[in-house]
């Protein structure tokens, strides 16, 4: 695999530039300054290992816009591939695509297998500034040599790094003298826990003393308890005896005092009983007196009521006189009048009848007057009709009938003779006729005879005019007619109209006469009725006067006056009745009261002072006095009985108390004798013995309590300690810490042993394998220096490389000139690459004008060495010196020369 082209799409100032095609072996790129030689070297490394981020020391070759983009084109016999890296995080995004052949997505990994970015920069793609980096990195602990060797062995990491990591792991656990390491921390914790445990242990020792003391005390406890119980028992017995003796003595005192009291009480009762005087007579009359006293309130009330009734009687008598005086009736009238209901009825009937009859009489008189007026009017009306007709007869009705007959005969005659006259209605006649009829009907209905008469006149007039109108055509009169005319008082030429007029007049006359006759008849009838009414009234008045006379009343008295007199008479009788009843009642009450007073006086006189005679007024006083006397007597009797009842139990109590007193005295004797105190022994002696026992018990109790208290205190202290779990906690913590310590030691040992194994393996490598690299580098260095220096060594414990000259004198690299040192570094690089086997075998070796400090001879030697390397690996050598390019051209056959120009304007 060989790098064929380098394409800078967007990469610093190289944007759009392409370098190629590169030779499989040696390519010399000649270009002036600022042609991008160093940039191409960096580009290759960046595409393979990633773009540097901003802020790194090395140039980033940043571009604007879409960011950096560069490509490398690799080829081998199977195809060609583009490795392209674009801008992106973590060094950019790398893609591989096949231009020919199969896709190889892992091509970058294959190319850089075993070679880190740093190793590449130091060994494969370096410039003048990187020449001393091999030695500097080694001095800094990064052994590029071993790194390369590890990579050649297929190891992914440097043994040096692994060893450092393991030593770090081991050191985190423990470092001699190191502080705050894991183990030191654990041990510190463990020591703290154990210190506390020792403290608790000391505390436990104290508990042990307590335990021993407790055991001793427990042994003493039973004996002390027995002593205490014995002394307590004796004390209890003595205390009980003394208490009981005291109790009995106190009882004796109490009982003696009680006896005295009881006896005094009995004596007092008897004296009191003797002092009570009993009124046996009064007590014997008690029931009778009680009955009287029970009745007494009734009679006292009656006495009060009698007094009230007497007052009422006086008022009633006064009222009788007053009523009689106001009525004006004498005693006869008062006795006869109004004593029954008929009088009142009579008076009322008479009053009503007289009123009705008087009214009737008055009405009839008015009717007569009206009928007379009507008759006069009817007469005047008739005269006004009759006179024109010449009728003055006493019997005008006959005259009128005669004339009407004549008229009818005349009309019949004319009708026969002259035909029928045309009929026509005479409106005024009809109106008169209708008005008359209406007046007649109205007058009859309202009994207005004048109106009725006037109506009749109007009817007649109407008829007359009507007839006259119908008789307007003259006729030829016959004899009868003429007679008729004469009767009628008409001329011969009287026409129909005249006849009609005559008829109407006659008819009116006949009506007026009829009305007159009717009015006259009505008047006559009214006169008769009025006479009858007056008669009835007078008859009634006569009867009334007769009735009054019978009762001794004034005949002029009207029914209303009679009614008033009747009321007064009744009131007077009622007043008298009331007066009488009161008088009777008073008498009856006084009689009963007097009987009671008599009985009371008889019964009370033996016991109290009673006035004689006994009066109503004295009744309350006597009753009260008698009652008080009776109550007093009875109270004394009751008290006497009560005293007698009290005296009997007092006797019994006195007897019982005397018995108990004797028993108590016997008890005291028995108590004293129980403790050996016979004759002469007293309770005081017993008390003295109890005081002694109390002292003994107090001593024993104090000793026992002290013992128990100490035991309790010890037990409490021990129990307190028993609850303490700290010791168990610490034990568990200690166990955990010991586990962690053991684990830490184990981890430390494993890591430390692993680091040690690696170090030993490295030493073996440096001892057994490194010389090949160093020998190769020495050979190359000798070639470059034309034998000035013969060999090299790299001491294991030193960061410096030593060169041996032809006199076998060793010189460390820092003592070499700059040019020689650079030749040394170049030789080592070439040796490393030559012996790195498959590691980075497809990576091109890019050198950026690293020969500028070489003199011509050594430059030629270096070029020869590079040419030799190029036979095995692809080498691209950048230079700005044409003479250097010429040396390559001269030394290396087949060397490819590419010339590039300066970038930009």
């Amino acid at each position: 695999m060989r790098l064929r082209r380098i394409e800078a799409v967007r990469y610093g100032r190289l944007a759009g530039a392409t370098l190629g095609d590169l030779s499989d072996q040696l390519t010399v790129v000649l270009g002036p300054n600022e042609a991008g030689k160093s940039t191409y070297t960096s580009l290759v490394r960046h595409v393979l290992f990633g773009y540097p981020a901003a802020g790194r020391k090395e140039p980033g070759y940043f571009t604007g816009g879409d960011g950096r983009l560069a490509r490398l084109v690799f080829e081998d016999g199977d195809g060609s591939w583009v490795v392209e890296r674009s801008e992106g995080p973590h060094g950019g995004v790398v893609r591989t695509r096949a231009l020919a052949g199969v896709e190889r997505p892992d091509l970058v990994d294959e190319l850089t297998q075993g070679v880190s970015a740093l190793a590449y920069r130091i060994v494969f793609g370096f410039g003048l500034d990187d020449m001393a980096a091999i030695e500097e990195q080694r001095a800094a602990g990064d052994d590029v040599l071993s790194r390369l060797y590890a990579a050649s062995a297929g190891l992914r990491v440097s043994p040096h790094e692994v060893r450092a990591a393991l030593e770090k792991d081991a050191g985190e656990v423990y470092t001699p003298g190191g502080r705050k390491r894991e183990l030191n921390t654990l041990l510190a914790e463990l020591r703290a826990v154990r210190t506390e445990e020792r403290s608790l242990k000391a505390q436990t020792e104290a508990y042990s003393t307590d335990r021993e003391r407790l055991s001793l005390l427990r042994e003493q406890l039973p004996e002390l308890r027995d002593t205490l119980e014995r002394s307590r028992a004796e004390l209890t017995a003595l205390a009980v005896a003394v208490d009981r003796g005291d109790e009995r003595l106190a009882a004796i005192d109490t009982q003696e005092e009680s006896l005295i009291g009881l006896r005094q009480e009995r004596r007092r009762l008897i004296e009191e009983l003797d002092a009570i005087e009993l009124d046996e007579a009064l007590l014997g009359a008690g029931p009778e007196l009680d009955a009287l006293l029970d009745e007494a309130p009734l009679y006292i009330e009656q006495a009060r009521e009698i007094a009230a009734s007497e007052a009422s009687l006086a008022k009633a008598s006064a009222r009788v006189g007053d009523v009689v005086g106001r009525s004006g009736l004498d005693e006869t009238a008062l006795s006869m009048f109004g004593d029954n209901h008929d009088d009142a009825s009579m008076i009322e009937e008479t009053r009503e009848a007289l009123q009705r009859l008087q009214l009737q009489t008055d009405n009839r008189a008015e009717t007569v007057a009206r009928a007379a007026a009507a008759a006069a009017q009817a007469r005047t009306a008739a005269e006004r009709v009759l006179v024109p007709l010449g009728i003055v007869s006493e019997d005008p009705a006959d005259a009128i009938a005669e004339r009407l007959a004549a008229l009818e005969a005349l009309e019949a005659s004319r009708a026969d003779a002259g035909g029928r006259a045309a009929r026509s209605f005479d409106a005024p006649s009809l109106i008169l006729l209708a008005s008359g009829v209406v007046a007649i009907v109205t007058g009859v209905l309202v009994r207005e005879w004048t109106t009725a008469g006037l109506g009749a006149v109007l009817v007649v007039i109407g008829l007359w005019f009507l007839v006259r109108a119908r008789a307007g055509v003259p006729t030829v009169l016959d004899d009868d007619a003429r007679v008729a005319l004469r009767v009628l008082g008409l001329e011969q030429d009287a026409g129909t109209l005249d006849l009609s007029r005559m008829r109407r007049s006659l008819e009116a006359a006949r009506t007026a006469v009829a009305a007159l006759e009717a009015a006259t008849a009505a008047h006559d009838e009214a006169v008769r009725d009025a006479a009858l009414a007056r008669g009835a009234l007078e008859t009634r008045m006569a009867l009334w006067r007769s009735w009054l006379a019978e009762r001794g009343l004034s005949p002029d008295l009207s029914p209303a006056g009679a009614a008033t007199a009747l009321a007064s008479a009744r009131e007077a009788r009622m007043a008298r009745q009331t007066e009488s009843e009161l008088r009777d009642d008073i008498a009856r009450r006084i009689s009963a009261l007097d009987r009671f007073l008599e009985r009371l006086a008889v019964a009370a006189t033996p016991h109290i002072e009673v006035p004689s005679p006994m009066t109503r007024d004295a009744l309350p006083t006597v009753v009260n006095r008698l009652r008080e006397r009776l109550v007093e007597a009875r109270a004394r009797a009751a008290r006497a009985e009560e005293l007698r009842r009290e005296i009997r139990p007092a006797d019994a109590r006195i007897a019982a108390e005397e018995e108990r007193l004797e028993k108590a005295r016997a008890d005291v004797r028995e108590i004293l004798e129980r403790f050996g105190l016979f004759e002469g022994g007293t309770l005081e002696d017993l008390r003295l013995r109890r005081h002694a026992a109390e002292r003994d018990e107090a001593d024993a109790s104090a000793a026992f309590e002290a013992l128990v208290g100490e035991i309790s205190a010890l037990e409490a202290r021990l129990e307190q300690g028993a609850r303490e779990q700290r010791s168990a906690e610490l034990s568990l913590t200690e166990a955990g810490l010991v586990e962690r310590v053991t684990d830490a030691v184990d981890r430390h040992l494993v890591a430390a042993c692993a680091a040690r194994l690696l170090a030993d393996a490295q030493q073996r490598y440096e001892r057994e394998r490194q010389p090949e690299v160093v020998r190769e580098a020495g050979r190359l260095f000798s070639t470059m220096t034309q034998g000035r220096y013969q060999s090299l060594t790299v001491p294991l414990d030193s960061g410096r490389i030593e060169a041996f000259d032809c006199q076998a004198a060793a010189r460390t690299s820092d003592l070499l000139s700059r040019g020689t040192a650079e030749q040394l570094y170049l030789a080592i690089r070439l040796g490393l690459i030559a012996r790195s086997g498959a590691v980075g075998s497809s990576l091109p070796v890019l050198m950026d004008d690293v020969l500028v400090n070489f003199d011509p001879e050594r430059r030629t030697g270096a070029v020869e060495a590079i040419a030799q390397l190029a036979e095995e690996r692809q080498v691209v050598f950048f230079t700005c010196h044409p003479e250097t390019a010429q040396v390559f051209r001269d030394v290396a056959d087949g060397c490819t020369l590419l010339e590039i120009g300066r970038i930009g304007p």
Binding site: Y207, R211, C753
Partner: protein
């Protein structure tokens, strides 16, 4: 004597024994561990009461030390008082951890407690309603280091209808256990007991069926090595023989597991395997389901996950994660330790056959492993400074072979499995 008895046989309560080899950070776990031995005693009392035992036999080492913490004495006294209230007697033989010479708070034990004499084998008759039921023979340790054969002093009274021997002893002089009151099974059989209640060996074991010679084991496992069931033996004994029943009393069960990481290529896969082991422990905690457990896991095998596990803090992070998951289980599981014993997926023989740097490394390790002196010196030189910082009680002898092998694997793994820098 006639009838049968039912009693509970327990031993090695080791009240308040400090737990060793555990790193319990979680407060809940710490509290459970601290209370575990006393809690086991409480469970033992409950078993006696629930099973209506006639008496409780304690075959030594009730306390963990001759200077037992006070709280354990109070706890034991209270437990005996509970049994006294239930009418259950307690027979105690002292062991090497709590001999008669131990200091005591002098707390008066209830009247139901009988402690066997340390002078000679003592015979005590258990009576029921005034009638003798069985005889118990026992002897306490006077000192912590009783090396005499106590069993030889036991002899059944011919009149005993039932006889029980109680002894704290190392039968058969078992290695790894203190050689206290040593005896043989023959010695025990010669005493003609109907049942031997033994103590001292913490793992329950029946040495003989006829007569039953039984180590009831400790009531609570005391360190990560005492895995599995721990409890007591409920014995029903009559003239025809004994019926034994194991009852767990442990409040925390210790568990250990080896998880193969072969075929597991990353941390997630390893995590899954570890969680599966946690769940297996949750499901199976011996005869005490529902008992919390402290679990230790060794990851082994050549695994693709080795490199990931070897990364700094990777194992710590994984352990923290697994611990959290374990604590969320019911009952909880405290994953005390996950030890990475995986190896890189590297063919050592292939590497060894090469001629490169790795081959040099393997060759170097091989030469050390082949020479134990050189190996000891190589590791010792590195270990000496760090071990010098430890207290003598914390000192331990590193396993040089194991360390070199792991160091070799670690270095190879870093060299060959590390991602390219």
């Amino acid at each position: 004597m006639s009838g049968s008895v039912r009693f509970v046989h327990a031993a090695d309560l080791h009240l308040d024994a400090p737990f060793k080899g555990v790193d319990a950070e979680d407060p809940r776990v710490r509290a459970a561990l601290i209370a575990a031995t006393v809690g086991a005693l409480d469970t033992l009392v409950e078993v006696c009461i629930e099973r209506r035992a006639d008496f409780l036999v304690l075959a030594g080492d009730v306390y963990n030390s001759m200077d037992a913490p006070l709280r354990t004495e109070f706890a034991f006294r209270d437990a005996c008082a509970r049994l006294d209230a239930a009418g259950i007697r307690v027979f105690v033989a002292r062991g090497n951890h709590d001999p008669a010479s131990s200091r005591s708070a002098g707390l008066a034990l209830p009247a139901n407690v009988h402690v066997f004499s340390a002078d000679e084998v003592e015979r005590v008759v258990y009576e029921r309603e005034g009638r003798p039921i069985c005889a118990l023979y026992g002897r306490s340790f006077r000192t912590a280091a009783e090396t005499a054969n106590f069993a030889a002093g036991y002899a059944r009274d011919p009149g005993d209808e039932l006889a029980i021997g109680v002894l704290h002893t190392n039968v058969g002089d078992r290695p790894g256990h203190g050689p206290y009151a040593p005896c043989s099974i023959g010695d025990l059989r010669a005493a003609h007991m109907d049942y031997w209640a033994l103590g001292h060996i913490h793992k329950p074991e029946v040495l003989s069926q006829d007569p039953p010679i039984v180590y009831s084991g400790c009531t609570q496992g005391l360190h990560p090595g005492e895995t599995g069931d721990r409890g007591c033996t409920v014995v029903t004994l009559d003239r025809h023989g004994a019926t034994l029943e194991r009852v767990s009393t442990a409040r925390v069960v210790w568990a250990a597991a080896t998880v193969s990481a072969v075929g597991l290529d990353d941390i997630d896969a390893v995590r899954g395997a570890l969680l599966a082991e946690v769940d297996r422990v949750v499901r199976d905690t011996g005869t005490a389901p529902g008992t919390p457990a402290v679990l230790r896991i060794d990851l082994t095998g050549r695994s693709g996950a080795h490199a990931a596990l070897a990364r700094p803090k990777a194992l710590d992070d994984l352990l923290a994660d697994i611990r959290g998951a374990g604590l969320s289980r019911d009952p909880w599981v405290w994953v005390d330790r996950v030890r990475d014993r995986t190896m890189p997926a590297i063919d050592l023989d292939l590497v060894r056959s090469g001629s490169d740097f790795a081959a040099d490394l393997v060759s170097l390790a091989d030469s050390l492993l082949a020479d134990s002196d050189a190996l000891g010196a190589y590791v010792g030189a590195l270990a000496q400074p760090i071990l010098g910082t430890l207290d003598s009680k914390d000192l331990f002898e590193p396993d040089a072979r194991d360390i070199i092998e792991r160091a070799r694997d670690l270095a190879l793994d870093r060299l060959m499995a590390e991602e390219r820098r």
